[in-house]
Symmetry: D2
Subunit: 355 residues, 4 copies
């Protein structure tokens, strides 16, 4: 399970100086499968050492192993690693990621650019690793030697993690979700402090559309050349709140068949995915932690559970309008971005990629 150092897969991080890029580098320090070989960023940073180019903003120190590396342009000819983690924004991603995939690399992307493309797997490692079979179709269709795998939106992740066990048990038909999202979801500098002092802001740009569509693809099943989306109606009310990390959501949902709160808590707390079976390095022991407390989950107290990879659910109860209600919390830059992306790569590694 822990290969010798020379066996480690070299990886490159695109958008390395940004918020998600920094989290990725922190998680990749001393990783048993991967080692950061190259860093890509925008013009402004190219040619400088990473320590010089970045405004490091994590609570943990900048990993020494990357501090002295010189930042390269985000071009396949400048970055040779077979595995590419992309923390680019949507616009950059739409242009740059296909170049790497065409050049034979595996791109695991945190951007929204290709998530809803029929031939691009949109993956949460515990929920639908089988969707990676789309890669074959993708390669044929696009004539790529490499491939592109997408990671969902940071709000989608926590919501879908909590939906999946219930959906499998009794079928989720529809749901209303209201989010209270952390500032880090908008990157750095992102949201102005003037908007979040003594204030919350409703309506996050582009977020509601993602939450209202991505879960159906993830929970869907492979059929023919694509994914048959789960049939489900979702309405999302989004809000930015004065929290640094951790997206909290309240959910009311309607099911195909009856389920009691106790049964829901049971299927949630006993849920395990295949990354847990294989004890992948970033797989939390409990993908979903169920609490039975009135005033939880709270972002500051619960976001770091399972090293930021566990989703926390509490306040599971009957909804008098639909069927079931609960609150769910996920660390948006770990499980909801960098860590979730890394777990997909670990899964692919365990499946024999890059050998």
């Amino acid at each position: 399970m822990s290969p010798s150092l020379r066996d480690k897969i070299p990886v490159a991080v695109l958008g390395a100086t940004g918020a998600v890029g920094q989290r990725l580098l922190a998680l990749l320090a001393d990783h048993p499968f991967f080692e950061v070989a190259e860093l890509g960023a925008s013009e402004r940073s190219v040619g400088r050492t990473f320590a010089d180019a970045v405004t490091w903003r994590l609570e943990t120190p900048l990993p020494e192993v990357v501090a002295g590396k010189v930042v390269s342009p985000c071009k396949p000819e400048d970055l040779g690693a077979p595995l590419i983690f992309s923390a680019l924004d949507r616009h950059q991603a739409s242009r740059i990621e296909p170049l790497f995939a065409a050049a034979g690399r595996t791109v695991i992307s945190n951007a929204s650019a290709f998530r809803m493309e029929p031939d691009v797997p949109l993956v949460i490692a515990e929920l639908n690793p089988d969707h990676l079979a789309l890669i074959d179709i993708q390669r044929k269709k696009r004539e790529w030697e490499g491939c592109l795998v997408a990671h969902p939106n940071c709000s989608t992740i926590g919501l879908t993690m909590a939906l999946a066990p219930i959906h499998r048990a009794v079928g989720v038909r529809s749901l209303v979700v209201t989010t209270l999202q952390a500032a880090s979801g908008a990157g750095y500098p992102g949201v102005s402090a003037m908007d979040l002092i003594d204030n919350v802001v409703p309506g996050i740009q582009g977020e509601e559309e993602k939450i209202e569509s991505e879960p159906m693809k993830i929970l869907g099943s492979l059929e023919g050349d694509g994914v048959a989306a789960a049939e489900m109606a979702i309405t999302a009310h989004t809000h930015r709140v004065p929290v640094s990390d951790g997206h909290l959501m309240s959910v009311s949902l309607k099911c195909e068949r009856p389920i009691s709160p106790a049964e829901a808590m049971e299927v949630l707390s006993t849920f395990r995915g295949r990354p847990q079976e294989r004890s992948l390095p970033s797989a939390p022991e409990d993908p979903i932690i169920v609490l039975n407390e009135e005033h939880r989950p709270q972002p500051r107290l619960d976001r770091d559970r399972g090293k930021g990879m566990s989703t926390t659910v509490s306040r599971v109860g009957r909804c008098s309008v639909l069927d079931l209600r609960f609150e769910v919390l996920t660390h948006n830059t770990v499980r909801g971005a960098a860590g979730g992306t890394l777990l997909i790569a670990e899964w692919m590694h365990s499946e024999g990629a890059w050998r």
Copy 2:
């Protein structure tokens, strides 16, 4: 409409040193109908001047007219005013308010103690002033010379203000509401700073039950000796957020008959109540202000509209799960407490009470 000074009705405020009491005193300074004659508070404050007893925490200065008044015990024999504003907490209110009502006073209460009693009118001045007819029944049943009128919970207020015009137009059958509530809703000191720095807290004690029951009484109709509650199912997800004043709520609702977002905006923005018809001093020109902006309402920017008495609605749209969705904001200590209570008294005054 503006009586000479000697005609002003003397009023007493119970719980004068608390957060809602302070707001009441600020709103009652220079009021055309009422003048603060007496202040009641707990043992600790009795016998001291108000300026000495209170930790004044509003942005506006302590009104000079009350600064030198000596605080009295909350007993009918110590306070002679015919009109009593009660800002007591639930437990004190349940014991003390009936004593004043029995002693011939009109008690307008902000506490939850009697709200759901069948013979106690639960009133929002624009929505159901006709429920004040319950006073006759109340007096007979309880053998009171005075009476007790209840003001709803601070979250109920904003929600019900926004529901009423839609309910009258097409009938609201059910709704899911998620609240992002200000710290001031818990009074002072109320919530610990440790709970609201880089954090939000789900599940406000006792709040969900109130939001899930009070609107049906307010929107109900007088029948026989009581109120026939509106038939409606409500599920409330509550949260405390790091905001000083202003409760924001996201709502998804199902109606009896179809209504488009444009129609909903129309009935909301054109809504006027009888306090507006009579131009009562605390009645905002627009009880409901409808915006057509993606990132509003915001607590800091919109809570003071209409001097804190207007409810602001935006993001009205179709809900793919139920029928209609929107965000609604109310200033919880003005419209949602002190100002709402005062407006009830102004209405009763315009109806000839205390003459």
Copy 3:
């Protein structure tokens, strides 16, 4: 004192869409001396109505009188008003303001670009209106038909207001000041929310130099062709804190001659300037409000005193290291920017300018 409408001086605001520009427009609505005739802003806004170009972020509504005005370029040929309020940033100001002054306009600037120029008066209306005499020298030297008057930095204002009465009484020799500054001081979007959630940031760019030099010029006296700066040593430690408006500062200072805390409180609380003598519209009754309370001033509770134009001082006591200590608070975008600039214009108007 209140001229008929047709006598009002037309004014233009440069940088009208920014944070300080918005405050200026709010303060100029219904002003007895001035009326907003024109709005200047950057390319992006030119040609659009103000309501369309601006993201209005004040708690008070956008004044109707400016909502429909079309935004012009910041050029003397496009803006004809004789009085120009400049809310431009330093770089724009250094280029644009001289063009207006050369073209015969009176420019009152909130930017730092020309503050320390020997022939530019740096004015707090209550403290050194006599420095406006530099305008004659300025016109000769620069061959301008108009003139340029500078308003100090937002932290300088509160500090110097509190220093002046003490300096006049006993001479201030040196002081250590530590600031806790509001986010609005950096404009909008300004500081990232990620920097001010559960955090404070020391070291505001360029701020310490200003605080350590501007007070000496303001407290200096006219001598020959310039201002002889007051002899004083200042060390400033600056911090950005999670507050929307209101700069708080702790001060320890050393004086030429002894002064007791009681004497200091006396000279501070009795201080009045010439704007108070003339009852100028924006002059607060009390330029300095002295409290005798341990836990004040507080930004949220005290920044709006005197409609945001009063400076609040409390905790005056002996400093065991230097001589005297106190805390001082000023509303940074009202007294510290828009309001202070306006008060200079009101003073000049009362002196007969623009007749």
Copy 4:
């Protein structure tokens, strides 16, 4: 260095359910020298399991080893451990701690009750472990079989850590310090959220007296039967800011002999204490971390350095009023309370106590 399990010293924690008590229990989980044998708390908690009695508020989970322990009264007859960590408040401490010391226990106290008693050592493990020699005098004077050792105030800690190397090098004569202190310094619930939303509060009760006296005792030297305090004048301006953990301070100081900023940075960054020499478990590798960055230290980014045990200094420069200026940050509940107390115990253990 790592004794077998049966050699671990059993310890009791007084005030175990409070904020500092919780931190202590988290730090004591898996400690190589000590094991938590007993928990003491107030009446309300006695007889309940710790998990039931506590509202656990740390980001790390409640240690399983203490979850099931039954809480005892804070009396020597109910708690048998030889080593007592006291996280009691001042009033409880003044009554209870002497009972344990009289009963032969070593009490290491975080309370202020006995800090300034001449025969009580006030200790920072890196700075003055030699002051523990006062224990002999204390035992004689008070006829105690055990002893009482005091840990300084949470603001004193960070300040004195940064002062010590400079004081040793060139003698510190006087200083002005302004604090920006975290909410956790007031315990839980402590400060009201209403005081720290869009606000800061000057003047922390009792704090300035402590900061202005404790450093002189810690930096003093043993003479005869007590400590000759260092001769130094300190003025402290304190503020509570909306930060969860981490006290930030700006310091301007005057020295006996000249020191350049570079020299100061050198003596600070090379400072090591005897706990470092002995590699005690809680001793950070670098007691003081010196940065050379304009916008650091920041509470959220720097408080956890050295697992919360390192003090961070930056912005070292010349002070134009006194001699030297800098900013210093310490984690107030780790280094400034629980961790600092534990390090004293580790030092005493390394000296042979409890053998």
